[in-house]
Symmetry: C2
């Protein structure tokens, strides 16, 4: 294995970025960082020629992506059989207003990852990965929760997908048409970001105070 194969996904017919090449990267650390920056992903798969796209929450360990759902859901059942999945993670960072429609763009960080998921069936592995997910959302919370019942465990399908290949695209620039700077229209970037707000306790009241930080792993400033 060459150094490059250690640190970057090989580009192939599936993950090679064909448009906007200067935005593209196969660097694993960049890909992993974007994956870890959000817990919302969109999972694509196809059944009998019909494409499906399902939003869900994901997390990562090493070169593997994880997401879960109802074990009875079409997505989990279909992908547990080893069918191919495509997982997209997208962060929207700004609207880029250029002097022309053609140069108008958005700033973003996105990853598309490809693989064939499998079902995590071992209970210890299931618990380990679910705890890691909660460590991203609310560190320390997993051990405070009412433990999972056997019925709940059976109703939950956890998928693990080794990332076979992936690509990232990133745009983080001002308008690309500075050569048209004299054209008399304002040009620039409108930054966009996501944030969190003060937690709202359940209406039935607080049985215990909120002890842990929330969403620490994501860049979600308190508004």
């Amino acid at each position: 294995m060459t150094k490059n194969e250690d640190t970057a996904f090989a580009a192939n017919n599936r993950n090679r970025v064909r448009r906007g090449l200067k935005r593209a990267s196969y660097d694993k650390n960049l890909v992993y960082g974007i994956i870890d920056s959000h817990f919302l992903c969109h999972v694509g798969f196809e059944v009998a020629g019909q494409p499906y796209v399902i939003p869900t929450s994901h997390w990562r360990e090493g070169n593997k992506l994880y997401w879960h759902g109802s074990s009875k859901s079409m997505m989990i059942r279909h992908l547990a059989k080893g069918n191919p999945a495509t997982v997209a993670i997208t962060q929207l960072d700004g609207l880029v207003l250029a002097r022309s429609a053609f140069s108008t763009s958005v700033n973003y960080r996105s990853v598309v990852a490809y693989g064939r998921p499998r079902l995590v069936e071992d209970d210890d592995a299931f618990n380990y990965h679910m705890e890691r997910f909660f460590e991203m959302l609310a560190p320390g919370r997993w051990s405070e929760l009412r433990p999972m019942t056997e019925t709940e465990r059976k109703a939950t399908g956890l998928l693990e997908m080794e990332i076979e290949d992936a690509s990232a695209k990133v745009r983080a620039d001002p308008p690309g048409d500075s050569d048209e700077a004299d054209f008399p229209v304002w040009a620039g970037v409108v930054p966009i970001s996501m944030g969190q707000h003060t937690p709202e306790a359940a209406p039935e009241g607080e049985a215990a105070p909120l002890k842990h930080g929330l969403l620490n792993a994501y860049n979600l400033p308190l508004r």
Copy 2:
């Protein structure tokens, strides 16, 4: 056509929501409202059994979705041939922390829409729909822009997709396990929202002041 068919998409084998039924809706106004609430979508399609998911910007008129891209891109070329597309729009509204892992959830508004796009080839229609997109992003801006050149027009593929069917899912509730309210762990919702920040002029300086509002069509408060 019955009243219901006027106001709701018929549920079929493709768009019927099978899990979380109480979150599901086929109401057209709800579907359209969620589509219009964001300009980021994820487009799914498949080529020779391989699913693809591409993030892009969309807009809507009536029962039709629009998005554009490089006319040479795999997505535009593939979908211009009449192949099926699935478009997902997802708004993340909060992290729902329940007393159990099983009841932990997110608040969200999401739509998945199905159809077979076609390329908009007529120039008047192309300009009309592009102007409508800009009216969502920056009202009044289209007519201020440096006009599109013929080369740029040829390089831009605009797709139009009649929504054949769609479904919405919405969760906007506190934790669902109020029957376990005595369990001694904090439970509630961490609201999440997206916002915009003060526009940043291009570094080469302002050739004209910013005259129009920005992103007025979306709920993106200024932070």
